[in-house]
Symmetry: C3
Subunit: 350 residues, 3 copies
């Protein structure tokens, strides 16, 4: 299950070739093939990557200015997806076009609106500010999952797994699982806050800060539709006051899940540190730690998915720690029902 | 969709081991496993490659003269597919046999009639003369496709793709796509003729002939059931008279598609040049060019097939350039309906 | 089709890590994921390898004494499969448990009862004595099949295939297929006895015994539910008296098939020789010969399975040599019907 009337991250800015590069960028999103390219003015264009003629991918063709020529039989499409030339034909049929998707470049994320283009709402773009802000530094991360996106969302909605999956990386203490986070329903999602006092610093922190003793950790994030995590987190010497400018370490992390198909997922992520703390080595160390830890998640979730493939006579057992994921699933269900009603209304008025 | 009452190319002559070789040749055709071997008299035999006992492939067994012994439990079959020995049993059950298919060696192509054996008609063998004629020289080509055969047939029925898929190999000019070919319905298929005046020679021609200027190209082929392309083609200096014996370059090409399964295909092909023009290097150069170009086709058709796998809310859009493939699909549809009626009649009289 | 109320071999003893090893052993059996481990007392424990919370495999977690902690969110299960701790929760829900399977270590085979635990019957354990007896020596064998278990059972129930599949290894003579074995229906299976007089020794025997002339071979085995072969076999100089203590060669072999899924199988096997005949080289030579021969079986059965995947308009043809496999299939069918009636009765009384 997924919703369509929302922005999905489909790529990092740097993944899209420049306007004069010889290659075209394809990515499958919600089971639909997208061609994403940069116009000569520098904005991004997202078209259905499937020629209306024989369904060949346009990404196997070539650019001609801001137009795309299909590499199979040469149909030429403008940046609006309208076919403007059929080789050997005097006229272009009115139906000759491919779907155009609203697309914007937003703080280094290429965002595509997969639903009704008229409903595309810039106010719904996520506040991933630290992806493009001089006060913050990071390296962009991407992982591909051969599992449904919802299993990864479940993982992100319950950080008690840090104690077990990431024992040797991001976690470092069972205390993370032992404290109960505050979970709050917000517009289009949930807010989760976890305070973990007096724990040893995890391996992930050690290259970044010279903690001489135990630390107080804090992890505050929102997880909103379609599947975006925005998190402030950090740590200070145990018992130090909750002052963000104070001593210690802090991060801002932006993460997004985008279904590729019903059983595979794109995962975009970063974790930024303040530009005035640390150097390029710090940035690399954070990235390396994240990749190692997110590999641990992928191993676990892939194993979970293999188990699910075997079937079970018993459903999953819901526990108190599932509060946030249960709430988010309700948010998703409600949004999905709104979409379904909207589709019915559109058909009856159409 | 495919028809059964016709000859399919199942192998090149050289692929079938000699009668005294220790190996047996298996190929799956129309979803059925075939064992193909050479009798001691030199003709080819095609049997169902599936023992009637436990369905093991006979090709995993061994020859005994012109008989085949199953390698699992030792049943012995004669060249007509009749079981003539069951080890340890005094009698052979009357039902113990495997299917025998009419098979002939025809101009280096091993042809098998996949339908009613009584209907096998030598008059329907294709005129692939240049596969076995002293006036012509070629090297035999084979490619395996993981796509349905019909997508490859579509490709061969519209050469406008030469301008785009084969821009750097067989094509070399958008003019090929811009001219309208003559398409004519013939017995069991279509005839397509394309004249392309005043174009630069494609890369494929350059090692073969020293063209000092633009050329006039001609491509004349039939495409007939089940899926056989027979083509005369060539080029002469632009403006030279249409005299086949004259200056320039000419080819004869024989190509055939044989469904392996509903989603995979055998592709047999060659392009011959006159024996009195060029040497072994010429033959090799043509083969290399063809393999490179047919690899381009396979890349494109495989990408098209992946897109089709994603599904689309829109059907393919038919264009003027699809005239030949539309006509051929009608020929196929009509032949398929004839077969269906014939099957119904056979059952009701049987 | 398989039955559940019986013991399945799920591993060789040596496959299960020791109680202080850092790894956990997972194996899928009858489509169910099992975690198998050794308690600190040395007995074996088999639990459902799927946490009741989010269905992650417990084998991706860790041991804590004889308990297992899930590596995803930290639930702790005791050796009975009961969850005894949920991190961050004061109480453990009553439903929080995973399935426990009766498991025993029996002559180096780890046996698991896959059906109703209350019905687990030690009297049904197979008499695989030579797997753990000072008078016998062997090396343990395992092969994984990507085919249904029943095709391998069929193979083991008809040794006429030794003449053809194993011509160059275990067989060596068509006479094996030509003699008719005695087939007797026994409790839960069949007994098959084959006497092959006056044949050359097969390649497999040659490193083991210096036969100067032809031999008389004997192969006596039972094949019982679920899929266990226990065999005495051997050979003596042709015409020598049937005296087990006499001159010649003899073996005891224990083999078991365990369905992994509907289309894949675990195959456990050994062939023991008397400890007082031969040395370590003998044991290795027997193992190597068996692996070579059982690879031949797997090749044939995998090819048969590929053929079955293509479908056929004809069923398999039953022959006299299929007597044992036909009888065993009836035994299996009857046992399966007993289980089905038992399940119905359990549901109506439950």
């Amino acid at each position: 299950m997924w919703i369509r009337n929302c922005w999905y991250v489909v790529a990092w800015d740097h993944e899209i070739p420049s306007a004069d590069a010889p290659t075209l960028f394809r990515r499958v999103v919600l089971g639909e093939p997208l061609l994403i390219y940069r116009s000569q003015q520098g904005d991004v264009v997202a078209l259905e990557d499937r020629c209306c003629h024989r369904h060949a991918p346009l990404s196997a063709g070539r650019r001609e200015g801001d137009c795309i020529r299909c590499g199979y039989h040469g149909l030429l499409f403008d940046r609006g997806g309208v076919c403007i030339e059929v080789p050997g034909a005097d006229k272009v049929p009115a139906k000759a076009c491919v779907r155009r998707y609203p697309a914007v470049l937003h703080n280094k994320w290429v965002m595509v609106w997969m639903g009704d283009p008229d409903a595309a709402d810039p106010a719904l773009l996520p506040d991933n500010f630290s992806c493009d802000h001089p006060d913050w530094r990071y390296l962009p991360g991407y992982l591909h999952y051969d599992t449904p996106w919802a299993l990864i969302a479940d993982n992100l909605l319950d950080f008690s797994h840090l104690s077990y999956v990431h024992e040797a990386t991001l976690g470092g203490s069972e205390r993370i699982a032992h404290v109960r986070p505050a979970v709050e329903r917000i517009e289009r999602g949930v807010r989760v806050s976890r305070r973990v006092p007096g724990v040893p610093p995890p391996a992930y922190y050690r290259p970044l800060w010279d903690f001489s003793g135990p630390i107080d950790r804090w992890l505050d994030y929102t997880f909103t539709l379609p599947a975006t995590l925005l998190m402030h987190s950090g740590a200070r010497p145990a018992g130090a006051p909750e002052d963000e400018g104070g001593d210690g370490i802090r991060f801002h992390s932006c993460q997004a899940l985008t279904p590729e198909t019903a059983t595979s997922t794109h995962y975009f992520f970063q974790e930024s540190h303040p530009s005035d703390k640390g150097d390029a080595g710090t940035t690399q160390s954070i990235f390396d730690g994240l990749m190692a830890a997110f590999g641990e998640d992928r191993d676990m979730i892939s194993a979970q998915w293999r188990n699910l493939g075997l079937g079970s006579e018993f459903p999953m057992l819901s526990l108190a720690m599932d509060a946030a994921l249960t709430q988010f699933r309700r948010v998703l269900q409600a949004a999905s029902e709104v979409e379904a009603r909207r589709d019915v209304a559109a058909r009856s008025s159409g």
